[in-house]
């Protein structure tokens, strides 16, 4: 976007205009640099030091009192033990499934909830409500609802003659059941972001499209969807990070079970910590950190680059 002669056509591209070439000369700040010190100290003590300490401790065998340097053994264990490695795969499945579903469902709900319908405000609150409930509460509630023998869901299915599956006890389904609950709980945020994005689209486009004879679907496909790119990028990044780090819901619903079939990185890290393998557990955290960084940073760059090119 280098064409600066015509008026900026969209808010998205306007905001990504490069600033004018001539920058104001650097002025000396009227406040001394020392003002950074309090925040800097807190940030260093609570974030930088523990982060780097964890890199060190991930290379040790760490008991209650002392630690022994063992090189990369913890990482070797982590990648050689089947269930530790499976948890890595599960983490990625979980993050991708929840993130994709939140994007699709969130967008559709947002389009629906920003059209002229009855009880719009009420429906918006209903969609957003699960986000306000604590994950542990949601997890406990759903593990009762999804109980294969006495749960409400399977009892209802039985009423209509369907033999409900073992939602959280069947090893093939457990992870996806938890993911479904995560989607139910998190889709409100995605919808909220999308509604904000839709409201920000100037009405002129829709008016112009109507003059050209576009129907609702073409409006959505050619106006709403392209102009929602920034909102989509935000939803993807947020839900992907959330999915990769997800712990509370999985722990309250299945504790990684049955067996290891719904273990994700965070639950494995917690289990290793509980077992007293502090070094191995820290190594797991480093793996998690690197995984999140390796997925999210390129993705962030990719999504934002697209936005600029628009």
């Amino acid at each position: 976007m280098t064409d600066t002669h015509t008026p900026a056509p969209t808010t998205a591209s306007a905001s990504s205009e490069p600033p004018p070439k001539a920058r104001p000369p650097k002025r000396k700040s009227m406040y001394p640099m020392w003002f950074y010190a309090p925040a800097g100290v807190i940030y260093t003590a609570l974030f930088v030091v523990p982060t780097f300490a964890s890199f060190y401790f991930s290379l040790t065998r760490w008991t209650i009192f002392d630690s022994e340097f063992i090189g990369l053994d913890n990482f070797r264990t982590f990648f050689s033990e089947p269930y530790l490695f499976d948890s890595l795969v599960n983490t990625i499945i979980y993050a991708v499934v929840t993130s994709a579903a939140k994007v699709v469902i969130g967008l559709l709900l947002a389009v629906f909830l920003s059209s002229q319908i009855i009880a719009r405000g009420y429906l918006r609150s209903v969609i957003f409500f699960p986000t306000l409930v604590s994950a542990v509460g949601v997890g406990v509630t759903f593990s009762v609802l999804m109980d294969p023998f006495d749960g409400l869901i399977n009892n209802l299915l039985a009423k209509v003659g369907i033999d409900g599956p073992g939602w959280i006890t069947d090893p093939d389904m457990a992870l996806l059941s938890v993911a479904a609950v995560d989607i139910w709980r998190g889709v409100g945020i995605a919808t909220l972001i999308y509604i904000a994005g839709i409201v920000a689209i100037p009405q002129e486009y829709f008016e112009a499209a109507r003059v050209d004879g576009a129907n609702a679907f073409r409006n959505f496909w050619h106006i709403t969807l392209p102009l929602m790119k920034p909102a989509t990028a935000t939803v993807i990044i947020l839900s992907l990070i959330g999915g990769l780090r997800s712990f509370d819901l999985i722990w309250t619903m299945t504790k990684g079970g049955p067996g290891f079939s719904s273990d994700v990185l965070a639950s494995v890290v917690y289990k290793q910590y509980q077992a007293g393998f502090y070094g191995l557990s820290t190594a797991g955290n480093v793996v998690l950190f690197l995984l999140v960084a390796a997925i999210v940073i390129p993705l962030f760059w990719f999504l934002n680059r697209k936005q600029v090119e628009q």
Binding site: I64, E68, E81, F149, K255, F260, K271, Q272, G276
Partner: protein, 443 residues
Amino acid sequence: MTFRNRRMAFPAMLAVSAIGLAACSSGGEEGPAASASGDTAEPVELSMLIDNGELTIGIAEALVAAYEEANPNVTIDIEQRPGGTEGDNVVKTRLQTGDMSDIFIYNAGSLFQALAPGQTLTPLDDIENYDAVSDTFKAGVTVDGAAYGVPAGTAMGGGVMYNIPLYEELGLEVPTTWDEFMSNNAAIAEAKPDVAPVVQTYGETWTSQLFVLADFGNVIAADPEWADKYTANEVKYADGPPAINGFQHLQDVADAGYLNEDFPTAGVPDGMRMVALGEGAHYPMLTFAFTELQNNTPDNVNDVGLFAMPGDSGESPLTSWLSSSFYIPASSEHADAAKDFLSWVATPEACDVQTEAVGAQGPYFVDGCTLPDEVPQMIADMLPYFDAGNTAPALEFLSPVKGPALENIMVEVGSGIRGAEDAAAYYDEDVKKQAQQLGLEGW
């Protein structure tokens, strides 16, 4: 009891801090506490951390109430923590940060070893009544020649609980070998289609381990040196019988379709209910689950019997567990008062207080303690094993090597996700981490 103590804790804390302030402002040497209370002995407030198992709560509250009555100057404030690995975590973290209560209850054996007792705990060899504690128990709480624990409760047995009326109705004999056990299961499955021959409760995953843990009596009967060799990394579960049998047995009953339908979600109370009411025939469990019977199905307490986990040859020893233990952390500021309490716990009087509160649960580890003549059926079935010396300690009291994932692996075996051999090999891999963490030789 707990609540009463909790409620008292806050005012007491205020009072203590007020005393501290008063002492500061007056600058006097002597604190006003002793004179204020009117007692001859100085008031002491102890804190105690216990797990939230019903049996532990019952024992701890009864002991504390009796001790407080005899020693009005002492108040003991009970605090509960979760059990299982979450509880391990709480205990380790609080010990590590020096934030542990003056007294706490925790397992003996391998879990105790993992606390680094030499650094975190106070040795109790010097308390007055320590000689009365049995050597069996001391062995489970000793590190480098120093003993650290006083028994909280009684010995437990781990075996198979069974429904006696069902056995009588079908004319079955208590099995002494695994083959007899399986033919009993077949007979039950045939005669009673709605009765589950074997009950499993994976809603509480730890219960899945009983097939392996309670089978250890058979392992050590076949190879008395097995535990030492295991610690030295010379034998493995995957090496084959006798050690692998526990894994194989669970697979056998699962493959035969003998498990209760709701095994993935049922918990210990469900399991005990089933075996008490005859909805299930057999339930491998520890005898401490007896409290569930007392509380939930009091009319059927004597319908539940116990036999040792059957092995390949007859006369299987009953695998026995030490009770949990009282410990005093090295960080306690009231170690002397805490030791006085524990010294009293190691007396027959304290045993009677426990029997009074929770009933006869099994033989005590303190000399001079007796059980009432009338004991419930399950305990009566357990005592002959102890009297005849036909018991074997569980592996966790003979070897510090215990992997954290056994319960999940066994859930996989019982749910048909993984075969027995694969599971045993998997578990051998899992314990390696624990052995390395403890710095054992040969791993």
